[in-house]
């Protein structure tokens, strides 16, 4: 019996050590902050097409994007990641400014406004920041139209949003800081806290709590609302501030990591992610992403890019603002 146990242990250790290392040249490491349920099928598709094994690290909702970004920063002297697939843009730019990324010449067309002119990152399949309402609790005629209504006293204790330190919510805060100024943003968040706005663990949690009727409405992303509607949740999507500052538009971005252990395989992943096929799949996946690289009609219920008033921001500036804004937000929250 002991011999059997020891044999099993040795075989397992061998497998963990060596088996894991077999064929290292046919693998690539991808860190992705897009929800696993949407990103995993795309990466599996890449594996099937190329035979290159993808070792993916997915993000958890509670520490969206920031968790992976800081992991990349912590690993910069000895990178383990080849490609960073971010579900937003500002943190990608922050990584570029810190020298974590490596430039790559994409073989396709460059899209102005969505690709880095220095070729450190490329954008594809986007989302918007939206308002999600509970249809049973909020009358359409009186539904919120602007994110400023977060501090409206009639919505006291009835609104939720994700922690403004992570993911697209953090990006949204940085965008507001650019348009309003940091002081106004901080004041806005203080008033929101006084109005008992609830800060929860992620955009999908916002959707879920609004759908359950725990809150009347919340601020989240198009993909979260869309997937909820597909599942029959009693929710609706509203494009905020169409008469004002506009809605923040956030593309996915992909970039090659500097000093990546498998750079050639990484480049192949980038080509795959920026292909028409991927953008089509993401738009047709349960997340309903908005195509930006190719002329693909979004799914029903998701607006076209041309039909939205987009918030006018400079993403490079947002990246600089993040470092200033985040610690101040943290002290309030």
């Amino acid at each position: 019996m002991e011999k059997k146990c020891l044999s099993f242990l040795l075989i397992s250790l061998f497998f963990i050590f060596v088996g894991d290392g077999i064929g290292k040249e046919k693998e690539v490491v991808v860190y992705t902050s897009l929800d696993q349920i949407y990103s995993e099928p795309i990466l599996r598709g890449f594996e099937k097409e190329t035979g290159i094994k993808v070792r993916a690290v997915y993000d958890i909702e509670a520490t969206k994007t920031i968790g992976l970004v800081n992991r990349l920063i912590a690993e910069r002297k000895r990178p383990r990641c080849d490609v960073f697939w971010n579900n937003e843009i500002v943190n990608t730019i922050r990584l570029k400014k810190r020298g974590i990324l490596s430039p790559y010449n994409f073989k396709g067309n460059i899209i102005k406004g969505f690709d880095d002119p220095d070729r450190y990152w490329y954008g594809f399949a986007a989302r918007c920041r939206v308002i999600v309402i509970n249809k049973e609790k909020v009358v359409k005629s009186r539904s919120p139209r602007s994110i400023l209504e977060v501090i409206d006293k009639r919505w006291k204790k009835k609104v939720c949003m994700a922690y403004p330190l992570f993911g697209t919510t953090a990006t949204h805060m940085a965008a507001l800081a650019e348009i309003w100024g940091i002081d106004r943003l901080i004041n806005f968040l203080k008033l929101a806290k006084e109005n008992k706005v609830s800060f929860v663990d992620g955009n999908s949690v916002v959707r879920d709590k609004v759908a359950k009727g725990i809150y009347c409405w919340g601020i989240t992303d198009t993909d979260d609302v869309y997937s909820g509607i597909q599942r029959g949740m009693p929710i609706e999507m509203i494009m905020p501030d169409q008469d004002g500052i506009g809605t923040l538009f956030i593309p996915n971005t992909v970039s090659l990591i500097k000093g990546a252990p498998h750079p050639e395989n990484g480049k192949r992943v980038i080509e795959f992610l920026l292909s028409r096929q991927t953008e089509w799949r993401l738009s047709r996946s349960g997340s309903g992403q908005i195509p930006i690289r190719y002329k693909i009609e979004p799914v029903k219920g998701i607006p076209r890019l041309d039909d939205i008033k987009v918030m006018a921001v400079d993403f490079e500036n947002l990246a600089d603002l993040m470092d200033t804004v985040l610690p101040q937000i943290e002290s309030i929250i």
């Binding site: 397992s12 696993q36 958890i60 359950k212 997937s227």
Partner: protein
């Protein structure tokens, strides 16, 4: 002669070295960071609310666990309870189902009610962890000398016997169970995270993920570290020189006085079993409406399933072997007699796995250690740093029950110390080995917080997969993947039970499955 003695003890020294390398470096990092502390820095962090919530969670969990486990323990620990093995199997279920799944089931039950908060979190955790004090209480009751009760029967009524004789005799087991629940609850990450509660552990995780600042993370953990240090000292005193957990549950042992009449026992048992144990499983599995979804999910999660089984089984096996060697050495070298040493050895177990993972990242994420840090072995280091102190203590307890004359007789039969350990002690530790193997296996499979921080790219355990999927809310996929998780937990125990059955049928019935064939 001295050289030969050292040769015999080489394997123990090697195991002890592993123990020191795995368990204590994170503790040393914590101490070093604490020494750099400035009081003003802690005050600026804003810990009042998380601290308050953590205490509410842990206290509620302990109290509720006691309310469930004490009456159940008095039922199962009585002599008239005829089916002890059945209760072991059924009561393993709450320990097998990961706490975040139980939380999800109860949240979905109260779908329209804004249920949540630290109190609810504490109740959920008590439903997951109550078998721990229950097993301890039953162990204690089965050890009570029947004459103590019999002499009291002459002068006291049933309730007086229970309150004045029985319960006071088992208070160390009750206290130990409560402390363990408190520690497990205050360091649990997954349930407060699912419920969106701001407590010390979620703040610790989020803060490190945002700022990757080791010092700040440890400062956040200070209240928890103080509580854990105090509790591990208390735990050490309570279990010092006392038999910790025993599975001697033969029907002839146990208390005579029972709190319930027979039919009431049955009703109470059925209500508890259904409500607490089966409900999370039923509410989860009713989401699976088609076999097609099940098949697709199985296919998608096969890699995670495989990783989970291999990692947890090999990790449990490796750590069990280290535990047996160290547990034997610690017991025979009388480490546990010193209270301070007791507390120091148990202390790493009381720390949250998130904090351990943060320290492990700081220590092992270097080029020279890439063979460890970049492979799943880093998970074994994490699990070892958390669970080895507890399992070593359990094995030491089992060793203490082996008369030392057995080993002395072996030495006088010209066996070396190692051969005495191999041929005489190890076979008698069969039940202890099974217990710690199982414990480590269950705990590692459902461990989330620390694992998330150190898991290498490309490796995904079922627990992490389910934890991530929970956030996207597709309950069908979650339920299907949960079936795989439960299967992964049941496969090793089924294998061992089959092995045990075969051995019993072959007539080898002296209790150990490690007996050599003639």
């Amino acid at each position: 002669m001295k050289r030969k003695r050292y040769k015999s003890w080489t394997i123990f020294l090697a195991a002890f070295t592993f123990f020191l390398i795995i368990v204590f470096p994170p503790v040393i990092v914590v101490i070093i960071e604490l020494l750099k502390l400035k009081a003003s820095s802690i005050l600026s962090i804003g810990l009042v609310e998380p601290y308050k919530n953590s205490l509410i969670i842990a206290s509620t969990s302990s109290l509720f666990s006691l309310m469930i486990s004490l009456p159940l323990g008095l039922i199962f620990g009585s002599r008239s309870f005829r089916h002890p093995y059945l209760f072991i199997v059924i009561l393993l279920i709450p320990l097998i189902v990961p706490p975040y799944l139980t939380a999800k089931s109860w949240i979905d039950l109260f779908v329209k009610t804004p249920i949540g908060g630290p109190l609810f979190c504490g109740v959920i955790l008590s439903l997951c962890y109550f078998p721990i004090p229950l097993y301890l209480i039953v162990s204690g009751l089965r050890r009570i000398d029947s004459e103590l009760e019999e002499s009291a029967l002459l002068i006291l009524n049933r309730w007086q016997i229970l309150t004045k004789i029985t319960i006071p005799l088992i208070y160390p087991y009750i206290a130990t169970g409560l402390i363990l629940i408190f520690l497990f609850s205050i360091t649990n990450y997954s349930v407060p995270s699912i419920l969106g509660i701001k407590c010390l552990i979620t703040k610790l995780y989020s803060d490190f993920s945002i700022f990757h600042n080791l010092s700040k993370s440890i400062w956040i953990a200070i209240p928890m570290i103080i509580i854990c240090l105090f509790l591990s000292y208390l735990l050490g005193i309570l279990i010092m020189e006392r038999e910790f957990i025993s599975f001697d549950i033969s029907p002839s042992k146990g208390i005579m006085v029972s709190i319930f009449e027979n039919h009431k026992k049955v009703v109470y048992g059925i209500v508890i079993i259904f409500l607490i144990i089966l409900f999370p499983l039923i509410s989860l599995f009713k989401e699976i409406t088609s076999l097609k979804i099940l098949a697709i999910t199985f296919k998608d999660s096969l890699r995670s399933f495989f990783h989970t089984i291999v990692l947890s089984t090999s990790g449990s096996l490796f750590l069990s072997i280290i535990s047996i060697c160290c547990g034997y050495m610690f017991q025979r070298k009388k480490f546990w007699k010193n209270r301070l040493l007791n507390a120091i050895i148990l202390f790493p177990f009381s720390l949250p796995s998130v904090l351990l993972a943060i320290c492990i990242t700081h220590i092992w994420n270097r080029a020279i250690f890439s063979i460890l840090y970049d492979t799943p072995l880093i998970l074994i280091i994490l699990w070892g740093s958390k669970y080895l102190p507890l399992t070593i203590r359990i094995i030491s307890d089992h060793v203490s029950q082996i008369p030392v004359e057995f080993e002395e007789a072996g030495l006088l039969s010209h066996l070396t110390q190692f051969k005495v350990f191999r041929h005489i002690v190890c076979p008698l530790l069969g039940s202890g080995f099974l217990l710690i193997f199982w414990l480590i296996y269950i705990l590692t499979i459902s461990e989330v917080g620390g694992t998330l921080l150190v898991i290498p790219p490309g490796i995904e355990t079922l627990s992490i997969r389910i934890f991530n999927l929970l956030h996207y809310g597709d309950l069908k996929v979650v339920a299907s993947t949960s079936i795989m998780l439960i299967l992964s937990l049941l496969i090793p125990i089924s294998f061992l039970l089959i092995l045990k059955t075969i051995q019993t049928l072959k007539g080898k019935d002296s209790g150990s499955i490690f007996r050599k064939d003639k």
